[in-house]
Amino acid sequence: MAAITADRADGPDALAWVAPVAILIVAFTIVPLLGSNYLIEAIMLPFLALSLAGVGLNLLTGYAGQVSLGSAAFMAVGAFAAFNFNFRIDGLPLIVSVMLAGGVAAAVGIVFGLPSLRLKGFYLAVSTLAAQFFVQWALTKFGWFSNYNPSGVIDAPALSIAGIVFEGSVGRYYFALIIVTALTFFAWRVATSQTGRNFIAVRDNETAAKFIGVPVLKTKLLAFALSSFIIGVAGVLWAFAYLRTVEPAGFNLDRSFQILFIIIIGGLATIRGAFFGAALIVVFPVVLSRIGSFLLGDMFDSGVLDMSERIVLGALIIAFLILEPDGLAALGRRLWSRIRTKVGSPSEA
C-alpha cells in the first residue's frame, strides 16, 4: 500500500506523488484509527509482510528475470536469524537485528544465486528449490537455530524501534508499516537507478547486456542479494509482527509459490504490483469465505464451503490472467491513465 508508483517518477510529475502519499497517509492514520482489530490482525499484517516479500521477489524475478522458488526459504532465514541475533546478543536494538537478519538472508541468497551464473529459466527455478528444501531441513535438524526449543517453535520478542515499544495490534501494524514503507522506497530507488536498468538489461538480453558493458555476473548476484534481503525482512515481519511464532514448517514450498503468484498476478517488474497481488491473495479468500459462510454456512459444512471457495478463487485468477496478462498493476495503470489523459500514458520503468 506504500509507495505504489515506482515506475512513474521519471519526470517531474507532481501528480504521480499524490497517490502514494495519500495512501501512506491513509495507512498511517485512518487504518489504525478506524480499522477493527480483525482488519489489522488478520488482513493488514499478513498483507504487509507478503507485499514486502513480493516487492523483494519482483526485484529478482520481475526486474532481473531470474525465476526463484526459494522465497519462503529466505523468509525463514530472515525470521530465524532475527530471532537469534535478538536472543543471543544482549542489548542489540531490534531494528539492528532485523537488518542483520536481512543481511544473513542476502548472504544465503547469494550462495543459492550462484547457479544462476550457469542456469536459466526452469533450470534455475529447480535449483532454487534446493534452497527451499535445504533451509527447512537445516532449521529443523539443528536445534541451535531455535535455541533447542523442544518443538522447534520460537516466540517473537517484544517489538521496539529506538526505545519506542510497539505493543498491541496497532503497534505491530505500525512496526510493519514503517519497515515496509522504508524498504519499498529502497526497492523503488534500486529499480529506477542504474542498478535497476542493469537488471532489466540482463533480463531482456544477457548477451546484449554484456556487450554494452553491464557486469552480468555481478548484476545477477546483486539481484539475488537485494531480493533476499527484502524477503528476509518480510520473513521477520511475518514471524514477529503477524504470527508471533516462528516454525520452519510455516515457510514451506506453498509459501514460495504464493509469493510467486503474488507478483505474477500483481504485475511483474512493478513495485505496486506486489501490493495488488498480495491484496488479492490475502484479502480475497477471506472475503470469499466470510460471504460464503454467511450465505451458505447452514447448508454445507466448512469443508465443502472451503473447496468451493478455492474453485471460485482459481477461476478468478485464470480470468484475471487471460484478461490482463500484465497483472493488476497494468489494469490499474490503464484505468488511471484513462482518467488522466492529459498527462499521457506513462512508460514502464
Binding site: 520452519p248 466470510r290 469443508g303 484505468l335
Partner: protein, 445 residues
C-alpha cells in the same frame, strides 16, 4: 489508483458486511464454542473425526438436557486446513462473537500462535493430548490446557507400558528401544525425555529420524533390523505410519514389537497397512469402539435422527471420534463446574478458565457420564493443567482395536521438574509473573 481504491472499498464493504454477519446480538444464556476445524487438506481424517465427535456431544447435551443447566451450547466452524495463518485468521474472526467458552484448535502450530493472543483475551485454549509440554504449568500459562496427556507424559506412559510387559521397570535394564520419529518439531519433541528415561532405567535407546512426509523408510528399517531392538516406538504422523508398518513387514520386523504413540494410534493409520498392522499396539487416552454408554446414546439420539456430524457412520467410535467425544465431555463438565460457582448463566472466558482449573472427574463421575472405560479420569488444578490423564494400550487385530493393558499412569513426579524448568525459562524470557494459587482464584467477569 482508482482500481486500488475500488478494491479497498469493495474489500471494506465485504468486511463490514461479514463482520456484521457474525456480530449478531448475543442471545441470552448461550455458551459459544469457536471451532477452528479442518475438514479438507492432508489431515482431514483427524479433523473430521475429532470435530465430528465434539459436535455430536454438544448436540447431545443440547437435545437431551437443553444445554448445560439450560445454557445452550452454540458453535460455528472456520476451516483452517491445519495451516497456522488460516487458524490465526479464524481466531481473529471468531473472537468477535460474544460468549466464547474455550478454543480447541487441535493443531500444535495454531495453538502456539494463539498463546499470546488468548493470554490477552483471557479465554482458555484446550490442546487435548497435544500442545506445548510446558504449558502444563498453570503458574506460567493460566489459559492453556494440554488436557489428559502432554508429549512427555506420553513418553513416560509408553516406557511404563513396556516395563509392564517385561515384568517391572528393573527388567528394562539392558533392553534396547528404537524410537522412529517424524522429522518435524513434533517428532523431535521427546528426544531428550527418551534419553533421560533410558539413563534412569538402564535401557539403551536409538532414535532414528524419518524425513517428512515419510513415504520411504527402507534404510531406516534396515538399520533397525541390524540393531535388533527389543521394541520400536513409532512416533509417526499421517502417511508415515502405514508405511512404517508395511516396511517393517518387508524387512521382517514383527508388528507385535512396535508400539505407536498418540498420533499413530488411529484406524486411519492401520487400515492402509493391511495385514502388516495386525498385532501392532498403540497408546491412547480414550479407548475406541462404540460400546460405551455415551457413544451408544449419541448413536441413538443423534445419528438415528439424522443429526450426526460424521458422514461415514462406520467411523462412529473410531479413535478420533471418541477423542472428540471425550473432549466434549471435558469442555462441558468444565462449564458445569464453573456454573456451580458463578451461577447457571453464560460465563466469561475467565470463569470457564476457573472451571477447567477445578475439572476433577474421578472414575465414579466418569462412569456417571456414561464414559466408563472410554477414558479413565482427570484431575486438573490451578498449577497442573494436564490433569493426570491415564493411558491405555490397544492392539489392532486387522478389524478393530482391542484394549490390551490396564490404565497406566505416567511418571508425573519425574517429569514435573523438567516441565517447570522449561516454563520458568519461558516466563523469564517473556517477563511473565509466576501466578500464585490466590491469583488463580481471582476471576474476572
Amino acid at each position: 489508483m482508482t482500481s486500488l481504491k475500488t478494491l479497498l472499498r469493495t474489500a471494506a464493504a465485504g468486511l463490514v458486511f461479514s463482520i456484521a454477519a457474525v456480530a449478531l446480538p448475543a442471545q441470552a444464556d448461550e455458551q459459544y464454542f469457536p471451532l477452528q476445524s479442518y475438514r479438507v487438506g492432508p489431515y482431514a481424517a483427524g479433523g473430521t473425526g475429532f470435530f465430528g465427535g465434539f459436535i455430536d456431544y454438544m448436540n447431545l447435551i443440547n437435545t437431551r438436557d437443553g444445554g448445560v443447566n439450560g445454557v445452550k451450547l452454540t458453535w460455528d466452524e472456520c476451516e483452517t486446513q491445519y495451516e497456522v495463518e488460516r487458524g490465526v485468521e479464524c481466531y481473529e474472526r471468531q473472537k468477535s462473537r460474544a460468549n466464547a467458552a474455550a478454543w480447541n484448535p487441535l493443531s500444535v502450530g495454531i495453538a502456539y500462535a494463539m498463546i499470546d493472543r488468548i493470554a490477552t483475551d483471557k479465554v482458555p485454549l484446550i490442546t487435548v493430548n497435544h500442545g506445548r509440554t510446558d504449558s502444563t504449568d498453570g503458574r506460567v500459562f493460566p489459559y492453556v490446557f494440554p488436557l489428559l496427556l502432554n508429549p512427555y507424559s506420553e513418553t513416560s506412559g509408553i516406557v511404563n507400558y513396556l516395563a509392564s510387559k517385561e515384568g517391572s521397570l528393573e527388567n528394562l535394564k539392558g533392553k534396547k528401544i528404537v524410537v522412529l520419529y517424524h522429522g518435524s518439531p513434533y517428532g523431535k519433541e521427546t528426544i531428550p525425555i527418551y534419553e533421560l528415561l533410558a539413563q534412569k532405567y538402564g535401557f539403551t535407546v536409538q532414535q532414528i529420524e524419518v524425513p517428512h512426509p515419510g513415504n520411504e523408510q527402507q534404510s531406516q528399517w534396515l538399520t533397525i533390523r541390524r540393531a535388533k531392538p527389543d521394541y520400536v516406538v513409532l512416533r509417526g504422523w499421517g502417511v508415515m505410519n502405514p508405511v512404517a508398518l508395511k516396511t517393517a513387514q518387508k524387512v521382517g520386523f514383527p508388528a507385535t514389537k512396535i508400539v505407536g504413540n498418540v498420533w499413530s494410534n488411529s484406524e486411519e493409520d492401520v487400515i492402509p497397512a493391511g495385514d502388516a498392522a495386525i498385532g501392532y499396539t498403540a497408546i491412547t487416552t480414550q479407548a475406541s469402539g462404540a460400546d460405551y454408554p455415551i457413544v451408544k446414546e449419541i448413536v441413538a439420539s443423534i445419528y438415528d435422527k439424522g443429526l450426526g456430524n460424521l458422514e461415514d457412520k462406520k467411523r462412529i467410535g473410531s479413535v478420533y471420534h471418541n477423542l472428540g467425544i471425550v473432549n466434549g465431555i471435558l469442555n462441558v463438565e468444565a462449564i458445569r463446574i464453573a456454573q456451580e460457582k458463578f451461577g447457571k448463566r453464560t460465563l466469561t472466558g475467565d470463569e470457564v478458565r476457573w472451571g477447567f482449573e477445578h475439572l476433577k472427574l474421578d472414575e465414579a463421575k466418569v462412569a456417571a457420564l456414561g464414559a466408563k472405560d472410554l477414558f479413565h479420569s482427570i484431575n486438573v488444578s490451578w498449577d497442573n493443567h494436564e490433569g493426570e490423564g491415564y493411558v491405555t494400550f490397544q492392539q489392532w487385530d486387522g478389524k478393530k482395536w482391542n484394549v490390551v493393558s490396564d490404565w497406566i499412569a505416567p511418571d508425573w513426579k519425574l517429569l514435573r521438574p523438567i516441565i517447570e524448568k522449561s516454563s520458568e525459562a519461558y516466563a523469564k524470557e517473556k517477563n511473565i509473573k509466576i501466578r500464585t494459587s490466590a491469583e488463580a482464584e481471582n476471576v474476572l467477569n
